[in-house]
Symmetry: C2
């Protein structure tokens, strides 16, 4: 349960509001940019990407030769979106941990090709990464009274 | 060399502009929020934090009991900042890979306590993480002509 019996948002030990899975998926669907966390030559790596959702899955387009394509093939990755306001020092973040799949099946590719997803980066982007939202967590810094 | 002989910015194989270390450190110094990438129970994790720079080191304040404090103690972490513009579909990102240190030395703590760094999240934040900018890379999506 992320919401206590009185309907108030739950807070974690650090005093941050805990977001429900539904709230996290809604925020994911609205975010233009997310960040994929993967491993590159045994070191942690993180790269921003634009993306879209297909149901509850995250879909990213990249070049088949990219590090990202190579490093997210049937591997656990993290994916993060956030937004914050410097003036009020508030913000929220959502993190997904799930399996990244390289989409090779022609029928599945055809479905993803039809999505309104064009990579912001230049060049051909014929490789699709699909990330399952197995674990979804989110936090919000509440406004001070 | 990140800049070719004609003074133009170098581009990577994906067509993105490659930022110099100096440019990356300047962007890091101006960013209010970054994201620390670490490992939590053998899974990738990423958490946004506000931070400041001390020379070329990244300094973050958190609670000593936090996952972040536990998971970044003398361990390699990644740290990412970015900014993007949805209208023009342009943006940049900088990634640091370096050792995260828990600051236990009283003299070093005193220096960090004097920095203008207050955590956005509520609650006491007496633990300092200092991340060396050992590897610094950055990319920019250029504007289309």
């Amino acid at each position: 349960m992320n919401v206590d019996g009185r309907g108030a948002a739950a807070t974690d030990t650090a005093g941050l509001e805990v977001l429900t899975r539904e709230e996290c998926l809604r925020l994911l669907a609205e975010a233009p940019i997310g960040r994929i966390v993967f491993t590159d030559q045994a070191l942690p790596a993180v790269q921003p990407v634009n993306f879209t959702m297909l149901g509850t899955d995250i879909v990213v387009r990249t070049s088949p030769e990219s590090k990202l394509a190579q490093a997210t093939r049937d591997t656990v990755v993290a994916f993060e979106v956030d937004d914050y306001d410097v003036a009020t020092r508030t913000g929220w973040s959502v993190m997904v941990v799930g399996i990244g799949h390289a989409v090779d099946d022609p029928e599945e590719r055809a479905v993803l090709e039809a999505l309104p997803l064009r990579s912001w980066a230049p060049g051909p982007r014929s490789h699709f990464i699909r990330i399952m939202t197995d674990i979804v967590t989110g936090r919000r810094i509440p406004r001070r009274p």
